[in-house]
């Protein structure tokens, strides 16, 4: 994958005419999105609303306003949660408008932050081994005591960021083989996206996903050559490396000859379902991308459609469900995870108000806009408290990290689970086949 190393960092110069995309003219500015937008609800300022941002992009496309820093702030204060798409009666695909605008603007923040992000997007994320090395170092920093000694010496802002660093677990996810047989009768042959940080921070969730699927009759294909899906790049205005990453994964998974490509991270799943759109101008890959996207399924979405087999052990627990934005709004998957939870005997699901409202995680948003992110998280934790649940189920790594931090900082002190964690536990737990 050396070719990815030679990517030019996207130019600072913005091409306004490329903002002139058809999606813009589907918006009739009715305003029904306003009240569904977390940043509008918090600030009550229309430039921080979906209708406002669409209008800003339209005004820029028409050459009526410049792409100034202020314009950029408005576009990047958006969480890209896409709750507005759920509210929109015209079916405006706001995410595409915002992503196209960000592509023209480049990554957010100061020149230093932009350079750092560009480095992460182009030199780090596409390389699983580099990522593993980095997280290995991070684990050493956390476990050797260095963190304890260094943290008080850091400047306040870095100290805050340091305290938000998730604890790196002792083991990373690693499958023994590229193909793992189904347990019982084979019902499907499916691939799985490992993800970039999933195997490093949530290796147990990946392992649980594999076990749950195998127990339900899936032969699992875990291609060793797969890489990060590029979602973080696309959400933050980096498209050159993102497209290369997409093409790479398309080749890897289409060769595997699978019935479905399973994703247990909502943000990745949403982006992979849109590879067809991402590569629409690529004559060589357009059709392959469409074929690939049609195979992509969220783990919960796929299992609910396949139907669970075998009995489940009871789990006596009251949980509430947080809809990951890129699952509920991005993929319109809402009922399936709930139905799977309700299939577990003894488990009680209590809905919280605004379960499909963003928790403030939003990829790297919690780092780039920590003020708004924490405001939303605090509100979310209050909704959680009102349910008296013992745990939150949120099938997406970003939400899990954010909610874990919320439980620790604001309370209530609930546990955070991925849907696959609970299904795995109810199905019998760990199995020596997968480390």
């Amino acid at each position: 994958m050396d070719y990815i190393d030679h990517i030019q960092i996207s130019s600072e110069h913005s091409k306004i005419d490329e903002l002139n995309i058809p999606e813009l003219y589907q918006c009739v500015h009715c305003g029904l999105c306003l009240n569904q937008c977390p940043t509008y609800r918090a600030l009550r300022l229309e430039p921080e609303s979906p209708r406002g941002r669409i209008h800003l992009v339209k005004a820029a496309a028409e050459g009526r306003i410049e792409l100034t820093e202020r314009f950029k702030e408005h576009l990047y204060l958006c969480l890209l949660c896409r709750a507005c798409e759920t509210a929109c009666p015209s079916g405006v695909q706001y995410g595409r408008i915002a992503e196209t605008a960000r592509e023209q603007l480049g990554p957010p923040g100061s020149p230093f932050a932009r350079a750092l992000l560009n480095f992460v997007f182009t030199r780090l994320l596409p390389f699983p081994r580099r990522l593993a090395l980095l997280f290995g170092l991070l684990r050493f920093y956390q476990r050797s005591g260095a963190q304890r000694i260094l943290r008080p010496l850091l400047p306040a802002k870095l100290r805050e960021m340091d305290s938000m660093l998730p604890a790196v677990p002792a083991k990373f996810f690693h499958a023994d083989a590229e193909v793992l047989p189904a347990i019982g009768a084979r019902r499907a042959r499916v691939g799985m996206l490992n993800g970039c940080v999933m195997p490093l921070l949530f290796g147990d969730v990946n392992a649980a996903t594999v076990r749950v699927l195998r127990r339900n009759g899936c032969e699992m294909v875990l291609p060793k050559d797969q890489i990060c899906c590029g979602a973080l790049n696309i959400h933050n205005g980096e498209s050159v490396a993102a497209k290369k990453m997409a093409r790479h994964n398309i080749d890897v998974f289409l060769q595997a000859n699978v019935d479905a490509i399973i994703v247990n991270a909502a943000g990745c799943g949403a982006v992979m379902k849109e590879y067809g759109y991402l590569l629409r101008d690529d004559p060589e890959y357009r059709d392959k991308a469409e074929r690939f996207s049609a195979l992509v399924k969220d783990a919960g979405e796929f299992l609910a459609a396949l139907g669970l087999v075998g009995g489940l052990q009871p789990i006596e627990m009251t949980v509430t469900y947080q809809d990951p934005c890129h699952l509920a709004h991005g993929q319109k998957v809402r009922a399936q995870p709930r139905s799977l939870l309700q299939a577990i005997p003894g488990l009680k699901l209590v809905e919280m108000p605004g379960s499909d409202s963003c928790c403030g995680s939003a990829g790297i948003y919690n780092l780039t806009h920590s003020g708004m992110s924490q405001h939303l998280l605090k509100e979310k934790m209050q909704s959680v408290a009102a349910t008296h649940a013992e745990a939150i189920v949120a099938p997406n790594p970003g939400c899990m990290l954010q909610l874990r931090y919320g439980a620790q900082r604001y309370g209530p002190h609930v546990k955070i689970f991925h849907l696959m964690d609970l299904l795995d536990r109810a199905g019998g737990g760990s199995d020596p086949g997968v480390k």
Binding site: Q26, V28, L45, E46, I65, E66
Partner: protein, 478 residues
């Protein structure tokens, strides 16, 4: 650019974060949900009534107009700053201050979203009756300004029937209550005067509204017709049969197509019209009313007349109906919605006129309307970017309004006059009528600075009214 002194003083009142002057901020406020645009000079978002009063006084001192704005969901350009000045957004006035269920009353701030009032009291078996289709986004203050109605206007009346008191900031900064917390205050009904004044008399800062008890039973029916005539005749027959439904709504074929493309709910795409009939009351009574309504539908040749089997199915029908305007974007980049009214019995004739107008001007028109009140909403679909199309749209719009008046109706049912229909208000009222209204307005707004250039057929405005995205010759809309 507005004066630096004015900006400095406004910042001192509301704080710098809530005075917007940069083009990349204010451009967003150049429009509402209508097709009018005027680039604002500045936008101010006060947090409380004292700040509003201070802003109003300042505006008087600097002699600049004030344009109040709620959620910006209006369809007649009422929130567009036609003559510049200050856009006073009440978006931060979003608290429900008091709920008194025993006396069926709530006091809310004007920026509260209409649906949030009902959401706050639904668990106790109450609701707030006026339900504009934009109720998930529109504000109570905007409803007061436009005297808004909705599908259930048929049974419950419009906003003015549900507002008992208002706290308002007058032209000189005085804070007064009009009406009160109990209905029927003695003296002039100034609260009634304010409701529907479209922001031309002062700034509303609190609203006392009536709450209603949810009915024991609600039943909703969807009837499918192969002829628009049959659907409108069914409406006439249902009301003639002595049933007063809570709502009678029609959507035509083009509207169904928009809804099914934008956010599909499974309406029959090959039907010429669908009719929603909703009845409320005691369970026995609604069951009987539904039977009668179904018989009448069948007699008029309905292909199907199905009662929603549960609340989820009922909500789906209303989702389709209430999202219909917003869904027009799925068919065309622009739509121009009319708000004409005709006597109910003239509905079949009027719908034939709309269809003729559509052919005559070669424009697609999607009809979605409150049939029970004879309140039409022909949506003329077009593309502002196509040369010459806008002129045809304007002529077609005028033709529908003239047809409404010829059939004994009016030019607006609930959307307000705003910028859009001020040229037509003279068709409805004579000079003496208009003079009387103007005199009342001048009592409250002697300098003509509250939402100027709206409602009345005034001479050309000095700000450039722009129809997005291509500029039009000044005066076209006047």
């Amino acid at each position: 650019m507005p004066g630096a002194h004015l900006i400095r003083d406004l910042r001192a009142i509301v704080g710098a974060a809530y005075v917007l002057v940069d083009k990349e901020d204010v451009v967003v406020y150049e429009q509402d949900a209508s097709i009018f645009q005027v680039m604002p000079e500045l936008v101010v978002l006060p947090a409380n009534v004292e700040e509003v009063a201070a802003v109003v006084k300042l505006a008087k001192r600097f002699n600049v107009p004030i344009v109040p704005r709620g959620s910006g969901t209006g369809l007649a350009g009422g929130a567009v700053p036609a003559e510049g000045g200050i856009i006073l957004s009440l978006a931060r006035f979003n608290r429900i201050l008091k709920i008194d269920l025993e006396n069926c009353l709530a006091i809310v701030e004007p920026g509260v979203i209409n649906l949030d009032v009902t959401r706050a009291i639904a668990k106790d078996g109450f609701f707030y009756a006026p339900d504009p289709s934009s109720q998930a986004a529109c504000s109570i203050g905007g409803n007061v300004a436009n005297n808004s109605g909705g599908p259930h206007t048929l049974a419950y009346g419009v906003t003015t029937n549900h507002v008992v008191g208002l706290e308002v900031v007058l032209d000189d900064g005085a804070i007064v209550w009009l009406g009160g917390e109990v209905p029927d205050s003695p003296g002039y009904d100034l609260c009634g005067v304010f409701v529907g004044s479209e922001g031309t008399m002062g700034i509303v800062t609190k609203v006392a509204v009536k709450l209603m008890r949810a009915r024991e039973s609600v039943r909703t029916l969807l009837a499918v017709f192969d002829q628009m005539d049959a659907a409108t005749q069914t409406v006439v027959d249902i009301t003639a049969a002595g049933i007063i439904p809570a709502a009678l709504e029609i959507m035509d074929r083009t509207t169904i197509e928009a809804v099914e493309r934008g956010a599909p709910v499974g309406l029959p795409r090959d039907a010429e019209a669908v009719l929603i009939v909703e009845v409320e009351g005691l369970a026995e009574q609604t069951a009987r009313s539904m039977e009668v309504a179904r018989e009448i539908c069948a007699r008029n040749g309905a292909r199907e007349a199905k009662v929603a089997k549960d609340e989820a199915e009922r909500q789906l029908l209303w989702k389709a109906r209430k999202g219909a305007f917003g869904a027009m974007g799925a068919l065309a980049p622009n739509y121009y919605v009319q708000d004409g009214v005709v006597p109910r019995s003239k509905l079949p004739a009027m719908m034939r006129r709309v269809s003729e107008i559509s052919k005559q001007f070669d424009l697609r028109i999607a009809n979605v309307f409150h049939a029970g009140d004879g309140n039409l909403h022909p949506n003329i679909l077009f593309d502002m970017r196509a040369p010459g199309e806008l002129e045809r749209v304007i002529e077609a719009g005028a033709a529908t309004l003239r047809a409404c008046i010829e059939l004994g109706g009016s030019i607006t049912g609930e959307h307000g006059v705003g910028l859009e229909k001020k040229a037509y208000i003279g068709l409805l009222f004579n000079e003496a009528d208009l003079e009387a209204m103007t005199r009342v307005r001048h009592v409250f707004d002697p300098d003509g600075r509250f939402n100027p250039a709206k409602l009345f057929p005034t001479p050309a405005s000095c700000g450039e009214v722009r129809l997005q995205p291509a500029p039009i010759p000044a005066g076209l809309w006047i």
